[in-house]
C-alpha cells in the first residue's frame, strides 16, 4: 500500500531523521542508504519514529548498526514510537545497548 511505503526525511543539520511507513527486510538497503549520512554525525542522533507503522528485525539491525557507529560521540534516540513499535524495541533489547526510547509524549 502506497501509504505505508517506507520514507526517510533527514534533518537539515544531519543529526536526525523522520522515518515513516513500514521498515522491513525488503526496504533495508533503501533505509541504509538514506540514513548513511547519520553514521558520521558528530553527536547525538534523534530519529522520529512516530510515523513508523511496522518494524522487523531488519530495522532493529539498522538501529543497532547506527548506534555502534556513533557510540563514541553520542547517543541514539528513538522518539515517538507507537505502543507496538516500542514493544518491539524493548523485546529486541535496544535499551540495553544504550539506545534511548521515548514515547510520543516526550517527542
Amino acid at each position: 500500500m502506497a501509504d505505508d511505503a517506507f520514507q526517510v526525511e533527514l534533518s537539515d543539520d544531519l543529526d536526525g531523521a523522520r522515518l515513516t511507513g513500514e521498515l522491513d527486510l525488503l526496504v533495508y538497503e533503501k533505509a541504509d542508504v538514506a540514513l548513511s549520512p547519520l553514521f558520521d554525525a558528530p553527536g547525538d542522533v534523534i530519529l522520529d519514529v512516530s510515523g513508523l507503522t511496522f518494524v522487523d528485525s531488519s530495522g532493529i539491525r539498522l538501529f543497532v548498526r547506527l548506534e555502534r557507529a556513533i557510540r563514541d560521540r553520542g547517543v541514539l534516540h528513538l522518539r515517538g514510537a507507537s505502543p507496538h513499535i516500542e514493544r518491539v524495541f524493548q523485546v529486541a533489547g535496544l535499551p540495553d545497548l544504550g539506545i534511548v526510547i521515548a514515547d510520543g509524549h516526550d517527542g
Binding site: 531488519s58 539491525r61 529486541a92
Partner: protein
C-alpha cells in the same frame, strides 16, 4: 487437527516480489482480524514477516506459501518454502547473523515449530500459533 475452520486458505507468493512481506502482512492481518485483537494481530504479523524474511534470505525457494487456519480462539499460520534451511551459529558481536529475527519471531507467538528442509528432503515449514489473550 479436528474442527479447524479455514480462515483464509493458502496464498502463494513469488519469492522475488518486492512487496512480498507487505502483501503477506495485509493477508494475515485481514484473515486474523475476526479471531484476534490488538496487540495480538501485530505480534502475529511480525512473526510471519520474520518467517517469510528468513525464507527469502536463505531458502533459495522460488515461492513462499502462507496458510492461515483458525482454531476457535487461536490462529495458526504456516509458512512453507521449497528450499533447504540454512542454520548458522551467531557470529560473536556479529551483525546480520545474530538471529534477532528468529528470537523476535519466537517472542511474538504462543507456540512455533520449524520443520527444516534438507538437501535430501527439501521444503521448510514454519508453524506459528497465536491465541486470543
Amino acid at each position: 487437527m479436528a474442527e479447524a475452520a479455514t480462515a483464509g486458505g493458502t496464498q502463494t507468493y513469488p519469492a522475488e516480489s518486492d512487496s512480498l512481506l507487505a502483501d503477506v502482512r495485509r493477508y494475515v492481518a485481514a484473515a486474523a482480524e475476526p479471531y484476534l485483537e490488538e496487540p495480538s494481530i501485530h505480534d502475529l504479523v511480525l512473526a510471519v514477516t520474520e518467517a517469510c524474511a528468513n525464507a527469502i534470505r536463505h531458502s533459495g525457494s522460488d515461492e513462499i506459501r502462507v496458510t492461515v487456519t483458525a482454531h476457535e480462539r487461536c490462529v495458526e499460520i504456516t509458512v512453507e518454502d521449497d528450499g533447504v534451511y540454512r542454520m548458522s551459529l551467531p557470529v560473536v558481536d556479529g551483525d546480520a547473523g545474530s538471529h534477532r529475527g528468529l528470537y523476535l519471531m519466537a517472542a511474538m507467538v504462543d507456540d512455533f515449530s520449524v520443520r527444516r528442509g534438507t538437501a535430501a528432503r527439501t521444503g521448510t515449514t514454519v508453524r506459528l500459533l497465536k491465541c486470543a489473550s
